[in-house]
């Protein structure tokens, strides 16, 4: 188990290095400059100073080496658009809001999704199942910015019950968290229902029932664990996606999070910021992927970790 985790981490670091390299050289071939129009108005001396500050006067391979050296020590450089501020400072400022919102949305998505999925799978009333499934299909058909806008109009503008800007109080979390969670809720509901129905048809459920085990215990003790395997495989990447932020929801609700920061840095061509965020997102995904695989192996004893790693 430990050996496997270390092995995966090593592969993960290699992956990150590859990601950083690709992103770095991609940045270099992008047309346009972060200093944009203001560059022309600067005196040659100031321009040189600026270039030297960001090592832009050196050759590209040299720049890359310097970047890697600094990155290893945790120095990802200064933001190019907000001069003098280290990108790590900006990230440290933006990340907590995003992560808190993401976690709330994640918890909502899992609990509501699994519950609805089980309800849809076991209800004796056909119309309940059909209704849940229809709503869930609408849920995966409507882009989250539309829910967000709808919620904002209804609860924020018309009813005025909920605040629509920022993340100051728990009340502020409700609308953005639900806008973020609606798509995954629908996805998990569908996943749990179909997986549950599949599992309940398995022979080992018949054997469990033949022991005189009550249905509710058959479902919770025998079926749920099997049915969770596909859910976990979906939930892992979902967590990574949610805690790295949805730029759409953050920009709509004016939340100063990492997602909107990323969109800003893209539109402003803030290369150091883009680099740092790419590496950050990449590491999140790698860690979550490892955790997902460990969790699946924990649930399903048939999965052999060592074999997969080699």
């Amino acid at each position: 188990m430990l050996r496997y985790t270390l092995k995966r981490l090593a592969v993960g670091i290699l992956t990150l290095a590859a990601l950083a390299t690709i992103t770095f050289f991609l940045m270099k071939i992008i047309p346009g400059s972060p200093f944009g129009g203001e560059l022309a108005q600067l005196s040659p001396e100031v321009r040189e100073m600026l270039y030297a500050q960001y090592n832009l006067d050196k050759s590209i391979p040299e720049q890359f080496l310097i970047y890697l050296q600094n990155a290893v020590t945790g120095d990802f450089g200064d933001s190019m658009t907000r001069k003098g501020t280290a990108v790590t400072t900006i990230i440290a400022r933006c990340l907590p809001a995003t992560m808190k919102l993401g976690l709330v949305a994640f918890i909502i998505a899992i609990t509501v999704g699994v519950t609805l999925g089980i309800v849809a799978a076991f209800t004796k009333r056909k119309w309940v199942e059909n209704l849940v499934m229809f709503v869930a299909t609408i849920g995966i058909s409507v882009p989250s910015f539309l829910y967000a806008m709808l919620l904002m109009i209804v609860f924020g503008v018309i009813l005025g019950w909920l605040p629509i800007i920022g993340l100051k109080t728990p009340l502020h979390y409700i609308m953005p968290a639900f806008s973020l969670a609606l798509y995954p809720i629908s996805m998990i509901t569908r996943l749990v229902r179909s997986s549950m129905k599949e599992v309940m048809k398995q022979d080992y459920i018949v054997l469990a029932r033949s022991k005189g085990t009550p249905m509710i215990k058959v479902i919770l003790g025998h079926a749920l664990k099997n049915c969770l395997i596909p859910v976990v495989t979906y939930a892992g990447p979902l967590l990574a996606f949610l805690i790295t932020g949805s730029f759409v929801i953050e920009s709509l609700f004016s939340i100063p999070g990492i997602g909107s920061e990323f969109v800003n840095s893209v539109t402003n061509r803030d290369y150091t910021m883009i680099m740092a965020l790419t590496i950050l997102f990449g590491s999140f995904i790698i860690i979550v992927n490892i955790l997902t695989d460990l969790l699946v192996a924990f649930i399903d004893p048939r999965v052999k970790l060592e074999k997969k790693a080699s």
């Binding site: 048809k201 398995q202 022979d203 080992y204 018949v206 054997l207 469990a208 029932r209 033949s210 022991k211 005189g212 085990t213 009550p214 249905m215 003790g221 025998h222 664990k225 099997n226 649930i299 399903d300 004893p301 048939r302």
Partner: protein, 335 residues
């Protein structure tokens, strides 16, 4: 009083193509301490009739009519008249306790994500009040009883770490856990190697001797029946077409289907050719009005197509449903 007495059991399944009448009014009985064989090819309704008794039909299956008297108690869902919860409650108390089932495929009937111990002690947890230590003790005993070496280790393992024969033994151990009065063994050897098959049959016989339970052995293999059963029911197309003591079935088969089945068994003493029965079982969505075997029978007569033959008792134990035995003495040319 018989241990199990089934009368006119009818079971059907709702499918997209229509209603499949899998079991069409069968009657049979099992005494305490005897092994009874139910023989038929796949699709003859032999497994589904026993799933009906256990109340383990899949969701689209229903018992339409009939009575099932088990140990003096009526356990057919028909009497509950739609009260599924009450029926389920009754059966939960019986299943795994006084009546249990050994299943066909050791690969798919064990839950892959639970340990052997957890699955083995479940019937005990359901029906007996036992402490954790007692449960463990009993689990070790059960595994030893079915001949699994080093049971302590096996209990901690998961199904995929065991061989097929081993898993089949675990399934048998689960069925035996609460010393049931009736054990229904649904093709317990089909998925196994021939050498292990013989061992499993021996095991079932041994256990019957020890516990005195009644056993129903469902199989398509008359060879297995010969070595284990005292009485045999032959099923075809959802009906019982012949029944008798094992010897009667072997030496005086009356139904052409029984003869056909016997011709499929390789007899090492006589150097006869194996003869498969041509054709396939009838379509049970539109069950035939007459004898279900008529289309494959080489002795078929006009009446066979029109009407189901009545049951004819040949001795106290031997009965058959075939128009050949009803045939008036004059019409001899059909032979």
């Amino acid at each position: 009083m018989s241990l199990l007495e089934i009368k006119n059991l009818t079971t059907s399944f709702a499918t997209e193509q229509g209603k499949v009448q899998a079991v069409r009014g069968i009657s049979l009985s099992v005494e305490q301490g005897e092994i009874v064989g139910i023989v038929g090819e796949s699709g003859s309704g032999k497994s589904q009739s026993m799933y009906s008794v256990m109340g383990l039909l899949s969701e689209n299956g229903t018992i339409e009519s009939g009575s099932i008297l088990f140990d003096g108690q009526e356990i057919s869902p028909v009497q509950f008249d739609g009260n599924a919860a009450a029926y389920e409650k009754l059966m939960e108390g019986i299943r795994g306790n006084s009546m249990s089932m050994i299943f066909q495929d050791p690969m798919s009937f064990l839950n892959p994500v639970l340990t052997i111990e957890k699955q083995l002690v479940e019937p005990l947890k359901n029906h007996k009040k036992m402490s954790a230590a007692e449960l463990h003790q009993k689990a070790v005993e059960l595994l030893t009883q079915v001949g699994i070496p080093s049971p302590e280790e096996r209990l901690k393992q998961y199904p995929h770490q065991l061989s097929g024969g081993m898993r089949q033994r675990v399934i048998i151990a689960i069925a035996l856990a609460c010393n049931p009065k009736l054990i229904i063994a649904d093709e317990p050897t089909t998925a196994l190697d021939v050498t292990i098959q013989a061992k499993i049959i021996e095991l079932i016989k041994e256990l019957k001797e020890k516990t005195g339970s009644g056993v129903i052995l469902i199989t398509h293999d008359l060879g297995v029946v010969a070595s284990a059963c005292s009485r045999v029911y032959i099923m075809y197309g959802g009906k019982i077409v012949e029944t008798g003591l094992a010897d009667e079935i072997y030496y005086q088969p009356q139904h052409p289907y029984t003869s056909g089945l016997l011709a499929c068994v390789n007899n090492p003493e006589e150097d006869t050719e194996l003869r498969p029965i041509p054709g396939s079982p009838p379509d049970l969505i539109k069950p035939p009005a007459g004898c279900p075997f008529v289309d494959r029978c080489d002795k078929a007569m006009k009446i066979c197509k029109m009407k189901m033959p009545p049951e004819r008792k040949l001795s106290d134990t031997h009965a058959v449903c075939c128009w050949l035995t009803e045939k008036p003495a004059s019409g001899k040319e059909g032979e």
